[in-house]
Symmetry: C2
Subunit: 218 residues, 2 copies
DNA sequence: CTGATTTATGACTGAAAGTCACAAAAATTC
DNA sequence: GAATTTTTGTGACTTTCAGTCATAAATCAG
């Protein structure tokens, strides 16, 4: 019965929650490296200065650790997106959003890599239902957000009148593909251009593909 | 000393080569399933009706099996591409190529999935040098092929005058992203459209992005 | 047919995910 | 504040799987 100055969360519970965050931070710091999938739970536990078994008191599996990292990262991403819709111009808005997305993915490679891993269907099927639902909720938040921008672009006659889901697919595919390419092949080495140029090119390409689609071709 | 009717390859060597193909076929048939990364070397050996150790007489590691599957598949893909360049119209050519690529990736999910896995830089670094070089050779064959089509498109004034590498990046990114999306989320379930429609949309988007790029924006 | 060489094999090793019986600490009761 | 119950922490243990290797089986040479 919490009363007076006592908070609803006991000291112990707070401690427990803090440790959870410590595990996630330890994991993230290890995932920075190039072979993040090789990182073991034991390494994470050592980094967090706890026993391996304790990790499993917080997360039912290694993959749940991935899930929590991804959920937090995607949430932050969406938050940042919402600050980018100040402009009236739909294309400027989209350009800003694309920029923010690339910036966040490149500035937080560990989170971003894990987030990518968490897109895979087989991964999601392995997850307990509750987490799967959280992913679905976040996905639809994302779709609604981009969808509303595209819709207003169509209303303003800037974007061809196609189903927003279709428009969104192209954007998402190009973005995901570009990010994969950045990670899989060291862009600057493979293509002899720097990352910033690459991002600009892809961003232009994404918008060109969107705007340039013919008004219902057949 | 091979002489008379005796071929250079002895019966034994032929047998050995045949078995190699059997291993690859066994692996591929197991990779058809949804959890292809979970397939074990022992399962492959059982499917090929040989001992596990024998697999390692042919391939130094499980990842080398992936490599040989990918090299064969990519080679066939390029071969098919070359049949699609009959048309004079560059955009028709590209449309055909995109179609072929999607068709082959969707008709051969096992090969395609493995090929995707083999794009990852960390994977390639683990490979012995000889195989890595084979991958690089195939990559540049691919780039040259698409590059030459884009170049003639620029000459014909159909495609904006940008470095072909830049143009190629957008195409590749969108294609890879689309394929990933098809695998990661069951497209027909997620987006309530069928695969064929999806492929058409993405194909249109790819070409629109290519053609629609402004002539050096800044 | 005998001995040499090549090829095939599955028991073994090592590494890592996940479990669990028990230890340590904290909370509760008297 | 001692005794008891509950919660939390732990590393030794189990399982699974990639990769190794000593040995068996097959093939070949003379």
């Amino acid at each position: 019965m919490p009363a007076g100055g006592t908070p609803f969360i006991s000291k112990k519970q707070a401690e427990f929650a803090r440790r959870e965050q410590e595990i996630l931070n330890a994991a993230l710091s290890l995932f920075e490296g190039p072979h993040w999938e090789q990182v073991t739970v034991e390494q994470i536990s050592r980094k967090a200065e706890i026993g391996k078994g304790t990790v499993y008191k917080h997360f039912a599996s290694k993959e749940e650790i991935y899930a929590y990292i991804t959920l937090a990262f995607t949430d932050k991403l969406l938050e940042n997106f919402e600050t980018a819709t100040s402009s009236e111009d739909v294309l400027v808005c989209l350009k800003n959003i694309i920029r923010i997305a690339f910036d966040m993915f490149l500035a937080n490679p560990a989170q971003a890599r894990v987030s990518f891993y968490c897109k895979r269907e087989d991964y999601r099927n392995r997850l307990p239902q509750e987490l799967r639902e959280q992913f679905e909720k976040l996905d639809s938040r994302f779709e609604n957000f981009i969808g509303s921008i595209l819709t207003s672009g169509i209303e303003q006659g800037i974007i061809p009148e196609k189903p927003v889901e279709h428009l969104m697919m192209g954007l998402e595919a190009t973005f995901d593909g570009a990010i994969s390419m950045i990670w899989n092949t060291d862009v600057s080495h493979q293509h002899t251009i720097d990352l910033d140029t690459y991002v600009t090119i892809i961003s232009e390409y994404m918008l060109a593909g969107l705007v340039g689609l013919k008004q219902s071709s057949d």
